[in-house]
Symmetry: C2
Subunit: 303 residues, 2 copies
DNA sequence: CGACTTCTCCAAGGTTGCCTTATGCTCGCA
DNA sequence: TGCGAGCATAAGGCAACCTTGGAGAAGTCG
């Protein structure tokens, strides 16, 4: 088996015409070169060099091997350079998957920072809801998934914390939930609402996981919410609430990009939060571009 | 530094999708593959593989490296095959240099045998006289030189045997010298001639080394030949002798291709021989095509 | 013509790297 | 829940590699 080291040495010998000069060029001693060439000749089974005493010449097999070596070593350095570009953040692709309300706020800032800091990298964004988005991460369809989780209200779900146990979880920010009531609602002007104040109201819930958490919170407050509608589209929630069809809770982050027309937002007591995190695989977390993107996301969230 | 071994292992891993399967394909154990991949990732400085637990996936850097690997390894096997072809006598070039009378007799037979036995090899032939032909061998302009030498008559020239000391000398055959006299000469009908019988004749000598040897032989027989002409062209020698301008000695081998018109050939006593040898460099003697050609030359000479 | 330089090979020694065996762990499956 | 497959790690043995030191040969210069 011919190794790249052999070719590097052979090329140096062919170029310089002597073992000593090749050794100097390669930064090693002359016997090292001599041994490498002996090993190469043994592995090819035919002489490659002619020692005439005065100069070091190549046999036909030697010239043939040198001819191939240039292409092989060029390909090798090209590969090394491409890898180095990825490792050095001069290149690299990060496929990001985010849930909808995350992509409209966190992602654009982080993406802009990333592009400014590392222009060679390519960041792509796809939207998907948490169950599917984590699956995409595990299936290799993306490098980073933005997801959120609610704190475990009453220890009801022992698997809740273990859901991402084999993933790298990078907390980005915690997002407070606020109440949404119709403009004419009796609590529309309140400074804050107790969750039990809404016990008798019809509810408009969000995505399945949000809905499950809502139920948990309400039940731990002593009532079971009556859920009439469920949609994960925040403008739709505002529309439904504004039409007087019910009340809702909503992540504060959603307000940054959606106008609450016809509805009023009021802080809810006790405070309920959801945690927005970035997820990736342990190996991917060590990929420079992924790591940098995680940093940018955390940096954007921190402000 | 990326080594070819790394790429072979990486390709096997990428192809099979697991370390164990790659190890089976490569004929080694799974930890060996694991260590190679760890070493490769360390040398490139970035993760190449994503261990998801269920399957082994490539990172972007990994796919890039695999993409390069196919070309690099293809070049490597192409190089190995070309070398193997040369080593296996399916290819290979031998440049032969011969003195004129050798090329007309020994060489054609050996060349035909070589072509029949190893059709892939290319044998080229150039004619040159010994001092120059040996120089060509040392300068890398040929692989085999056909030359001849005379035995040391009286130990006069200590450097005679040392002339080719650093070369591989392969004896091919010994060529007896015969006398050439005009048809009407008094000794034209003799069964054999003593060299001293020609002491008073004018001589026609051959090439410088032949001439020197002729003088040595005559002097050791007690006289100094009077040399009127010198030419290394055997037809010319016959012409000169046939014209009655002198006598000569000539290698028997030359008779095989030159017709002695107008002259008679007679064995000379004491018998004088020249030895025809093939010369090559020690390293070149180990090149299969060169070695085979030397064998064919020796085989042709043996018959 | 002799000393010096340069180049090569050879031998010995120490270090490194590689491969193997053995073991533990996780995960998927029956 | 036991079982098989796959990967990681540790330890040991072995080969490969590089270095140092020295000898020999050849060219060069004073």
């Amino acid at each position: 088996m011919i190794e790249a080291r052999h070719l590097r040495v052979l090329r140096a010998v062919a170029l310089t015409g002597s073992f000593s000069a090749a050794a100097r060029e390669l930064g090693c001693t002359q016997p090292a070169v001599s041994q490498q060439m002996k090993a190469l000749e043994q592995s090819t089974g035919t002489p490659l060099l002619v020692r005439t005493g005065r100069e070091m010449r190549l046999t036909q097999a030697g010239t043939a091997l040198v001819r191939h070596a240039s292409g092989i070593l060029a390909g090798l350095t090209a590969a090394e350079e491409e890898i180095a570009a990825i490792a050095g953040l001069r290149a690299g692709r990060v496929r990001l998957v985010s849930f909808p309300s995350g992509s409209s706020t966190l992602v654009p800032g982080a993406l802009a920072q990333m592009r400014a800091a590392h222009p060679g990298t390519e960041i792509s964004l796809v939207e998907a809801e948490p169950p599917r988005s984590v699956e995409m991460l595990r299936d290799g369809e993306c490098e980073i998934t933005l997801a959120f989780r609610y704190p475990d209200v009453r220890g009801s779900d022992p698997a809740a914390g273990a859901e991402w146990e084999d993933l790298v979880v990078r907390p980005l920010l915690t997002d407070r939930l606020i109440g949404v009531v119709p403009e004419g609602h009796r609590l529309a002007g309140a400074e804050r609402i107790g969750i039990t104040d809404l016990a008798e109201e019809p509810w408009i819930a969000g995505c399945p996981r949000c809905r499950r958490h809502l139920v948990e919170v309400c039940e731990s407050a002593g009532f079971t919410p009556r859920i009439d509608f469920a949609t994960d589209d925040y403008p739709a929630v505002f529309g439904l609430v504004g039409a007087g069809l019910g009340v809702a809770v909503m992540p504060e982050l959603a307000l940054e990009s959606v106008r609450p027309k016809g509805a009023r937002v009021v802080p809810v007591e006790p405070a309920v939060h959801r945690e927005i995190v970035a997820l990736t695989l342990p190996d991917l977390a060590r990929v420079p571009a992924v790591d940098a993107m995680l940093d940018k996301l955390a940096g954007t969230a921190g402000r």
